[in-house]
């Protein structure tokens, strides 16, 4: 079963400073943790993909327009907390295991080395039909 684990910019406890305000060591610890988690998933035969997305400042919202030139809205956006920051795709045996991995991701260290407790959205990736 493949799952996509999504994290948005929000979803962290009130008052958590943005990563740019962390100490360099705290930033390093966070990045190392995420890389280690990916390595662990690969080692277990569960890793499919993990990507971070460029920041909300670079995001564009596009709407088709009859005139032929689409309407493009550039960032920054006031509601940037709702935007996706990144995702992991894993291939695991059960939804329980997907939840376990998501919890591991949510425990990535933040300021002071404490788990950041970011909310991770767990969504099963649709596949081909499994019945005849």
């Amino acid at each position: 079963m493949k799952f996509m684990l999504l994290q948005a910019y929000g979803g962290v406890p009130e008052g958590t400073p943005p990563m740019t305000r962390w100490t360099p060591d705290e930033v390093d610890a966070h990045i190392t943790y995420q890389k280690d988690l990916n390595a662990e998933l690969t080692e277990r035969g569960e890793f499919v993909d993990a990507r971070g997305l460029s920041g909300p400042e670079l995001a564009k919202f596009v709407v088709w327009d009859e005139s032929g030139s689409p309407v493009v809205t550039d960032g920054p956006f006031p509601e940037s907390k709702e935007l996706l920051a990144g995702y992991r795709i894993i291939d695991v045996e059960s939804v329980e295991r997907a939840i376990e991995v998501a919890a591991q991701g949510s425990a990535a260290p933040g300021p002071g080395g404490e788990p950041i407790k970011q909310v991770i959205e767990v969504r099963e990736v649709m596949g081909p039909p499994i019945t005849h």
């Binding site: 035969g45 890793f47 649709m126 081909p128 039909p129």
Partner: protein, 410 residues
């Protein structure tokens, strides 16, 4: 020319590597290490054969090279010197006739190792595809849409699990043998299901998994031809695969059985499936694969949907439900009952299933179909919508969404 030659070598390696693995594992009593050694030997072969020409006995060549690697490995491990002596004391090779007679058994043994009960289904499938079907790790990774490294780790962990279980590479005693054969059949069937599901784009490659599963089914059939369920599974896969050309339209969308163009069904697969099934049924020990195959055969016999013998199918589903105790089978029985006695009869059966299958998309899609047949459009649309919300399959969701839309707005 060169690519033709390479193709020939590839095919030859796929045939001989599993046989070589069985022989080396038997000789050294260590499946996991033997798998590594044979993998390395096939890499040597792919490099050397195009230059030096094909060996007269490719399997023998692989056994020889892999055994040398095994011996080297054992030598290099000082702690295992005793084992080296034990190996050296063994006869180097079986007489040719005995080797031939043992080949089918050894393939079966290989399958038993790969479908070890300690392995998860996904791991067992991956290991079987490599060790028995002779696929490369990259090919298996592509079929399951995961990176090659992830698949390599999955296989290597599976081998480690088998090694740690300490199970010798030897045929288990009768009661356990039956149990293991059942897990082998299950692994093959799961592989087939992965592959049978054709959809657009990257997933087209999965079709190869169905072909691999059928190939594995044939291998097991050769090794255990007296087991009726082995023939039952092979027949089921052949009869199901026969419908593939009609099962999706040009856009990759699902076509339900009663709307399929039956002239597209693969006749030769149906004929073979029927023959295999008849032989299995003649042995008299009916099981779930034979019953499923018998149902598929009933559909195959009807050149038009109206000619389907639903009475026979209803009886087969009732038997299948008794044998498996599977509630999903009861859903199919409800459909068959509706075809025989009208949609109300089917709906009544579904009501009994509500508790056990609540929240399963197939309960809702089945009820939707029967409600539609009963002329209850609004209720049917609501059930299609619910099923579309719950399914994990894109083609299925597209299909259900269209059905709902047709009733709501059509």
């Amino acid at each position: 020319m060169a690519s033709e030659r390479n193709h020939e070598i590839e095919g030859l390696l796929r045939e001989s590597a599993p046989r070589a693995l069985a022989a080396v594992a038997r000789r050294f009593g260590d499946f996991a290490d033997a798998e590594d050694a044979v993998q390395e030997a096939t890499i040597d072969a792919a490099r050397q054969w195009p230059v030096q020409g094909l060996p007269e006995n490719p399997t023998g060549w692989l056994v020889h090279v892999a055994s040398r690697r095994m011996t080297d490995r054992i030598r290099s491990e000082a702690a295992r010197r005793e084992r080296e002596a034990a190996v050296a004391a063994k006869e180097p090779a079986m007489p040719a006739a005995a080797a031939e007679a043992g080949a089918a058994d050894e393939t079966l043994l290989l399958m038993f190792m790969c479908c070890h009960p300690a392995l998860s289904p996904a791991s067992a499938i991956a290991l079987t595809l490599r060790a028995v079907a002779g696929l490369a790790t990259a090919e298996i990774a592509a079929a399951f849409l995961v990176p090659e490294r992830t698949m390599a780790q999955r296989i290597s962990r599976a081998k480690k699990t088998i090694k740690e279980s300490g199970e010798p590479f030897a045929m288990p005693a009768a009661p356990e043998r039956g149990e293991r054969l059942r897990s082998v059949l299950r692994v093959i069937y799961l592989t087939f299901n992965e592959g049978y599901a054709v959809s657009a784009g990257a997933e087209l490659a999965r079709a190869d998994l169905a072909a691999e599963a059928i190939r594995l089914g044939r291998i097991v059939q050769l090794a255990a031809s007296t087991e009726p369920e082995v023939g039952g599974l092979l027949a089921l896969m052949l009869l199901t695969e026969a419908r593939r050309p009609a099962r999706t339209d040009a856009g990759g969308e699902l076509v339900p059985l009663d709307e399929q163009d039956r002239s597209l069904w693969a006749r030769e697969l149906i004929d073979e499936g029927m023959t295999v099934l008849d032989a299995a049924l003649a042995r008299g020990a009916v099981g779930e694969y034979q019953l499923q195959a018998a149902i598929a055969a009933e559909h195959a016999k009807a050149s038009r949907p109206q000619e389907t013998n639903w009475g026979e199918i209803l009886g087969l589903y009732a038997l299948l439900e008794r044998v498996t105790g599977n509630r999903m089978v009861a859903l199919n029985r409800a459909i068959a009952a509706a075809m025989v006695d009208g949609p109300r009869a089917g709906l009544a059966l579904l009501d009994e299933l509500d508790e056990g299958l609540a929240g399963h998309h197939r309960l809702h899609s089945t009820r939707a179909h029967l409600l539609e047949d009963a002329g209850e459009r609004a209720a049917a649309a609501a059930e299609y919508e619910r099923a579309a919300e719950l399914t994990r399959s894109i083609p299925e969701r597209n299909y259900l969404t269209r059905r709902a839309a047709r009733l709501n707005r059509g």
